[in-house]
């Protein structure tokens, strides 16, 4: 069972619909107590880092997720959800994140003539051999819509790169914690395959 976390700041419907499509059981969990029985979790996210962290702290999710991950259970953050995994975000001043992945989230400063937000289909290049990108072409177009990017302290945590007036981390994985800056649930058909990989992932590198 895949749990999709509802903390008031994500568009869950698309993620759930995509998982339905590939026949993977998914349930929306809106409080940490409902987490049991979910062998993996997805943290979606749209909007403000600060407001999202407020919601996660307030509902007890922040603590619960740190504990969940410490047991080696897979957690996937999508878009803002990936950003929340890091130590801190710089939107509206410094806001602490979940601290599951060393690094920080900063406003992108793409070279001209690139624009912000970064919106549209851009090609990601995945490096190494991670299970999340199994069966996926090395260089593939996926849908991005964001203005902030993650800077991982440990370069080994970055498993896919993208370029928008400068390189940035498109996907990270550290232990059983993974993140995707793009929207796999909006990037049919490749993205759906990536979600399938997450659904099958045992949480190891």
């Amino acid at each position: 069972m895949i749990g999709i976390i509802d903390y008031g700041a994500g568009n869950l419907a698309s993620v759930r619909n995509a998982l339905d499509q590939i026949g993977r059981e998914a349930v929306v969990v809106n409080h940490p107590e409902a987490m049991d029985g979910c062998e993996r979790l997805i943290l979606p996210g749209v909007g403000s880092f600060r407001l999202a962290m407020e919601a996660l702290d307030h509902t007890g999710w922040a603590e619960a997720l740190r504990e969940y991950v410490s047991r080696g259970r897979p957690l996937l953050g999508i878009c803002l959800g990936m950003q929340l995994l890091f130590d801190e975000g710089e939107e509206h001043g410094i806001t602490p994140g979940l601290g599951l992945v060393p690094g920080r989230v900063v406003l992108m400063t793409p070279r001209a003539p690139h624009r912000l937000p970064h919106v549209g289909w851009n090609n990601l290049v995945h490096v190494g051999d991670h299970a999340l990108f199994e069966g996926i072409k090395r260089d593939v177009d996926l849908y991005f819509v964001h203005s902030y990017r993650c800077i991982a302290t440990d370069a080994a945590d970055v498993i896919a790169w993208c370029d928008h007036g400068g390189e940035f981390a498109a996907s990270i994985a550290r232990g059983s914690v993974a993140g995707m800056q793009f929207h796999p649930e909006k990037s049919w058909p490749v993205g759906i395959r990536i979600l399938e990989n997450f659904a099958d992932w045992d949480g190891s590198c």
Partner: protein, 252 residues
Amino acid sequence: MLKRRIIPVLLLSNGRMVKGRQFTGYRDTGNPKTAVRIYSAQDADELVFLDIQASVESRAALIDVTRTAAQECYMPLAAGGGVASVEDIRELLLAGADKVVVNTAAVTDPALIARAAERFGTQAIVAGVDYRSEPEPKVWIRSGTEVTALDPIEHAMHLVELGAGEILLNSIDRDGMMGGYDLAIADKVAKAVAVPVIVCGGAGNFQHLADAFQKTAVSAAACASLFHFGDNNPIRARSYLRNLDIPMRVLR
């Protein structure tokens, strides 16, 4: 490299798709749900739903279409039409839209853009700018029925300052005429702001799309008649543009 986008626009009125010319003479062109399935099968880059009625019933139908589209297809969606509050925006985002288009309210209540950007992020807010060009370019609101004193370029710049993440720029004169986009104004707007600009109004064949990308700084081209009244589809459009070395999404 970020690709250019071709975005089919589905104009809705009380839950039906409509097509007009220069924002008038609208004809029923079908059920948006079947159109969504077709565009989804053709892997359109994104879809935009715009409700032209902006009444309570029409808005409910817009939400319904958005929800169905989000359930059946796994592609980026934007929706708008009569959006006047943060709550309206939230409703559409919850229904499955990734982005919400705010048009008339951006003129009557520009602070809404700022509030919405703060709450949902700039990338979720698309500012719609409809304009006519004679005697000089002016922004029109309420589905092209009411003129304002605003210049489209300055208005676009202002909205970006407030927090709009994209501009959907629509030439009312060119709408449905299939004679090509208004490249001059599109380029001026695209060069005046640092956010992506989507040009809309006038695409009739693939060369018009190419012109938009080769001759202006726009990031995306929105179209409706091109696909409804031409032997064209998004897949063929991408091939045509790639042959001209315009970077488009690769599916295989």
